[in-house]
Amino acid sequence: MEYLIGIQGPDFVLVAADTVAASSIIQMKHDYDKMFKLSEKILLLCVGEAGDTVQFAEYIQKNVQLYKMRNGYELSPAAAANFTRKNLADYLRSRTPYHVNLLLAGFDEADGPSLYYMDYLSALAKAPFAAHGYGAFLTLSILDRYYRPDLSRDEAVDLLKKCVEELNKRFILNLKSFSVRLIDREGIHDLERLPLPQQ
């Protein structure tokens, strides 16, 4: 039902998420933001069971902020991803596992851009592009076909638009709008929501 996608370029990461908050068959909110800002250059995109998503993501968010307060510098994306994975894994075999699927996207001064895919069983993988949700079945092969490691920002946005068009065409659910953000050396930038308003 929910959809996340991330595309890593040579010096940026582009991420998008749908903006629907649903409760069984009803769309309760059309402009719900599924991205959580962990730090100036790290975003956590979180979908999954209602309640678990916000609880877990905010828990990670606050802990990353706490690290910064205690130590004076921010966690790198790799460290944040592994911290998240450890927490998810610890809760997995407890009485209260968190059923969340995550994409963690970040930019590190030393290592450059990075995109991490994590699922509810706390499997972590660094990937050049990734997607979550039923929509991933339809769009991963588009990414396989057209992705290049040296994509420019415009090309990455075009690739994202291709994926969204495919969803609009073939996906049984109507995912009307997507929030799009780009992380690069300067930080996190809001891009225009997809689909673009018709003129």
Binding site: A21, S23, M28, K37, G51, V54, Q55, G187
Partner: protein, 354 residues
């Protein structure tokens, strides 16, 4: 035998307040356990909670929420904001996830005002927007607070209204101070004709002590607002933030959503469809109330677990007030009569054409 009360409930946020409407039926596996239940309950003077789900759970959690809000009020000398109450409730319900607890509450309230919370400090996104200057100046200008973060948070909520206030500059009363201007300007521009009594206007005027140079609207040039901001910084920060309406949906499965329209319960799809057809900004208070009532009526008509009476509550900066409980059976018969009359007229027209 768990009484699973399915209800139709609608809540809507307007510019000047929040309207909550609910039916009054409690059912228990096919039997109407009680036809006159109170589903909208006040938590404090500016917060009302509508309940849906299991009756006992709702009653308990409403009490727990009221208890926690009261403690917060006593400890901090101001009311807990609606967002804060929603978050508190969501975190209190989280340990019960996966159990048979079933509550779906909407918190309808007014933030800020006298005795209320300060503007939301809000989260990391807002700091970003402050840096890019989006909405920050306007917020600073009127709120008179040093921390631009908080202003930007306020400006975020009122992003649409800020531009409207600028356009309404010429219509605004010159005597009114910045805050009063913002409120009335917004109203006139956006066409909300909700009853703003004279006493409300005066209260807003007394709240905002700072008068901008030349009595300009707060959305005028950035220079004047910046000058106003620095002047305000020097003032004692005592003027309360006028606040705004807030609506949150909290569910026992952990969902906590902020929005402008929610419909909850077994009859909610029927209510949603009526509301989505008719709802728009610029409704007057009476139009909005009658729309809420209509939505509940349609839900009670179609849904077996909703029915009997409708309660309507209205929460604005003055607090909450409610309408008298209305039996929807009367509405059903009235509509039936209207249909009959319309049918009779149509037949007459038909016969004339023949």
């Amino acid at each position: 035998m768990t009484p699973h009360a399915g209800h139709g409930r609608t809540k809507r946020q307007t510019q000047d307040g929040v309207i909550a409407a609910a039916d009054s039926r409690a059912s228990c596996s096919g039997l109407i356990a009680c036809p006159a239940v109170q589903k909208i309950m006040p938590v404090h003077s500016h917060l009302v909670v509508t309940t849906s789900g299991s009756g006992a759970d709702c009653m308990l959690w409403q009490r727990i929420l009221a208890h926690e809000c009261r403690l917060y009020h006593l400890r901090n000398h101001r009311r807990l904001s609606v967002g804060g109450a929603a978050k508190l409730l969501a975190y209190m319900l989280h340990p019960f996830k996966g159990t048979e607890l079933c509550v779906a509450l909407t918190l309808c309230g007014w933030d800020g005002g006298r005795g209320g919370a300060s503007p939301p400090v809000e989260d990391l996104w807002v700091m970003e927007e402050k840096v890019t200057g989006w909405g920050g100046e306007e917020g600073c200008g009127s709120k008179g607070r040093k921390e631009t973060r908080e202003c930007a948070g306020q400006a975020c909520e009122r992003e649409g209204e800020g531009e409207a206030a600028g356009e309404a500059r010429t219509e605004a009363d010159e005597e009114q101070t910045a805050l009063g201007q913002e409120a009335s300007g917004v109203e006139e521009e956006l066409g909300a004709k909700a009853e703003r009594t004279e006493s409300e206007r005066e209260e807003d005027a007394t709240h905002s002590r700072r008068v901008e140079d030349g009595g300009l609207s707060r959305a005028s040039t950035t220079e004047s607002s910046r000058a106003g901001a620095t002047a305000a910084e020097q003032e004692v920060r005592q003027e309360p933030w006028a606040g705004g309406p807030r609506l949150y949906y909290v569910c026992s499965d952990g969902t906590c959503l902020q929005g402008e329209l929610f419909s909850v319960g077994s009859g909610s799809p029927y209510a949603y469809s009526v509301l989505d057809c008719e709802l728009r900004w610029g409704l007057s208070l009476s139009e909005a109330v009658s729309l809420a009532r209509e939505a509940v009526y349609r839900a009670t008509h179609r849904d077996a677990y909703s029915g009997n009476c409708v309660d309507v509550f209205y929460i604005n900066s003055q607090g909450w007030r409610c309408r008298e409980r209305e039996d929807l059976r009367e509405e059903y018969y009235r509509e039936k009569e209207k249909r009959k009359m319309r049918q009779g007229e149509q037949e007459k027209c038909g016969m004339k054409h023949k």
